[in-house]
């Protein structure tokens, strides 16, 4: 179904090329001519390895490039965007773990962190986290990223510092070959600006623009970041451009939600360590940076929506299909619950339409969503297929409660489920449950259906 509509949209040019890099490693490799890339560095990018210099970023930038160029076969070395306070802390605590890259950072962070007695378990957890971080970092720094390995690791969650580059690799926006990234990234960002110029200098499609304008202030209204004018203008441009280039779908409510995990994640690469991205006003960034974040968000959103465009075309067949799959799945996983819902005349479309349309973003927090997307982006069809298994796991989680409820109580419960404060652990449990259901039922044939 999806393929049959692709010719209606204008997405072919979008699909055609594997796109390029937003990540800081381009910056490290690039010549100092590039102002844009300098800004990358000067806006808070540094590496723990060199973080003893990181108060003076412009100075260490050149040396960084030298280091990188000489150390790894002249390949640009990926340098994570920002050592947030978490990782330095972990690094310090786990200083017993041998790491070639973190020595510089050790000197910088206060030794008093360790003064408080950490429990053995916490230490172990942190060590595990740290060593995972380094393995992850190593993986994305390779001159040709091993995508199978990356997917395997990313499935279990991506360290936040490495998320921007990892997502862009996983979504297919960044080439796996680091040599190709800079040029492609440059091209893709220019292309975006060109398209914006083209669309925003002619008369706008009034209906599309109107709907986007209504929805922008209603996008994550409780997260401060989305109240800033700069954020809103960026999202407006991204959504409008996507809509006019995909006329078979156009802008559909809910797509605004889907743009935000990308936007927020890519923005986080440009801000200082200790700053909470959800509180950050992007207007304080240079225009080049904002343009880059916007372009990267646009292309990644485009990639994501390619996989689920049937969700948003007329009559939303993709969603209908997923709702039906969910119903079948729940019948097999939890017959009692399925029967109870039937008895109460609860229809799956009544409560799960939104789950499909907004990928559960209305049910869980932004933080949880972002963690969930690490896994979705690592699955072959994360957003269109694996998501259904996640929804099934999500529903049967409440089976005991739901089976005691009548129609009305079920509807009220499911439209406002108690999962807004879910932690990463809750999401990870959900994802592993979904994984089990997928392994059990994905290739199950129709005769197995209850």
């Amino acid at each position: 179904m999806g393929a049959s509509f692709s010719h209606l949209g204008l997405s072919n040019d979008v699909v055609s090329s594997v796109v390029s890099l937003p990540s800081s490693n381009t910056g490290k490799k690039s010549s100092s001519k590039s102002k844009n890339l300098q800004r990358w560095t000067s806006s808070g990018l540094s590496t723990p390895r060199d973080s003893e210099h990181y108060t003076d970023l412009d100075d260490d930038w050149d040396s960084n490039v030298e280091n990188c160029l000489t150390s790894v076969n002249s390949q640009p070395k990926f340098i994570e965007n920002k050592p947030t306070f978490e990782y330095p802390l972990i690094r310090k605590i786990s200083s017993g773990v041998k790491s070639s890259t973190d020595d510089g950072a050790l000197a910088l962070y206060a030794p008093h962190i360790l003064q408080e007695e950490e429990s053995h378990k916490e230490l172990e957890e942190m060590n595990a986290k740290l060593s995972r971080y380094h393995r992850f970092k190593h993986l994305v720094e390779e001159s040709t990223v091993d995508m199978d390995k990356l997917k395997k690791m990313a499935w279990n969650g991506i360290p936040s510092e490495l998320r921007p580059i990892s997502w862009q690799l996983l979504v297919g926006y960044l080439p796996t070959n680091s040599n190709r990234r800079e040029a492609q990234l440059h091209r893709k960002r220019q292309e975006y600006l060109g398209l914006i110029e083209q669309e925003f200098t002619k008369e706008k499609d009034a209906q599309t623009w109107h709907q986007i304008e209504i929805d922008i202030p209603r996008t994550n209204p409780r997260i401060k970041l989305y109240g800033f004018k700069s954020t809103q203008r960026s999202l407006e441009r991204i959504l409008y451009l996507w809509a006019v280039r995909h006329p078979a779908s156009g802008y559909v409510q809910g797509i605004n939600d889907l743009a935000t995990p990308f936007y927020q994640t890519f923005l986080s690469a440009y801000i200082k360590d200790e700053t909470d991205v959800t509180q950050f006003d992007p207007s304080t960034l240079p225009k080049d940076s904002i343009d880059a974040i916007e372009a990267d968000t646009f292309w990644c959103l485009t990639k994501l929506l390619e996989g689920i465009q049937d969700n948003y075309i007329h009559a939303q067949p993709g969603i209908i299909r997923q709702v039906n799959e969910l119903k079948d799945l729940v019948r097999r996983i939890d017959t009692e619950l399925s029967n109870h819902l039937d008895d109460e005349n609860v229809e799956f479309i009544q409560f799960s339409f939104r789950w499909m349309n907004c990928l559960l973003m209305r049910e869980i927090s932004m933080e949880s969503t972002i963690r969930m997307w690490d896994t979705y982006l690592s699955e072959p069809n994360g957003f269109s297929e694996f998501h259904v298994y996640v929804c099934a796991a999500y529903l049967v989680k409440w089976s005991d409660e739901l089976k005691k409820m009548d129609f009305q109580a079920i509807m009220m419960f499911l439209q406002d489920p108690p999962t807004k404060n879910w932690t990463e652990k809750d999401v990870e449990l959900l994802l592993s449950e979904a994984f089990i259901w997928q392994s059990l039922y994905k290739n199950a044939t129709a005769h197995l259906r209850g």
Partner: protein
């Protein structure tokens, strides 16, 4: 979960009412004002449908209004129109400051005509009456249109609660009166049977449809 106490046999009639109208006119806030006396300045757009209930008393009878709030964007109509079936009342909401949302009322009327029952009680609701200084739709004009099309009419403010209860109540009363007049005895389906929510055929489930069919016969 505002009305846990409603789960059991505590009403005489269950009335399904749908809330429709253009995106951004304030449907969800009308509903939250009516059912929870709440207003969200920072609410998100409605996706699919949302559901809430409130029990009213008319002529000593308890009428439980089961209200389905729908998404306003056109793309969703193919989906949401499924929810019209079995509805006994509809509020078509527009924004008094946005004439285009008023102009679209005829589109919404047609939607109902195509997808809902014929004897549906329909009310035209001009919301955001607190924004009088920005008014773009004259009250008289809307009132006239309503009369011409045999619609009930109110102007409301979900923000300051003006006329919100009234707008829902007059729909519920009109449904009740119509039911009485048509001797459509809903109590067969609500009071006498455990109310499993959909008992009165208020949604397009096959089971419910057959119930409804029965009700039309007698």
């Amino acid at each position: 979960m505002a009305d846990m106490e409603d789960y059991a046999y505590d009403y005489d009639y269950l009335l399904k009412i749908v809330l429709i109208g253009d995106s951004g006119v304030g449907k969800s806030n009308l509903l939250s004002r009516f059912t929870r006396n709440g207003f969200n300045l920072d609410s998100k757009s409605t996706i699919g449908v949302e559901f809430a209930t409130k029990t009213l008393e008319v002529d000593g009878k308890k009428l439980k209004a089961q209200i389905w709030d729908t998404a306003g964007q056109e793309r969703y109509r193919a989906i949401t129109s499924a929810y019209y079936r079995g509805a006994m009342g509809a509020l078509i909401v527009y924004d008094i400051t946005k004439p285009e949302t008023y102009e679209n009322v005829s589109k919404w009327l047609k939607e109902l005509k195509d997808h809902a029952d014929d004897n549906l009680v329909v009310e035209l609701v001009g919301n955001k009456s607190d924004l009088e200084h920005l008014r773009g739709v004259p009250t008289e004009e809307a009132k006239h249109f309503a009369a011409e099309n045999q619609l009930l009419f109110t102007e409301t403010s979900a923000l300051n609660a003006d006329n919100v209860d009234l707008s829902f109540e007059q729909v519920a009363k009109a449904i009740y009166n119509m039911v009485k007049k048509n001797q459509l005895d809903l109590s067969d389906y609500s009071g006498a049977k455990p109310p499993t929510g959909q008992t009165i055929s208020l949604t397009p489930t096959p089971g419910a449809e057959s119930n409804k069919h029965k009700s039309n016969c007698c």
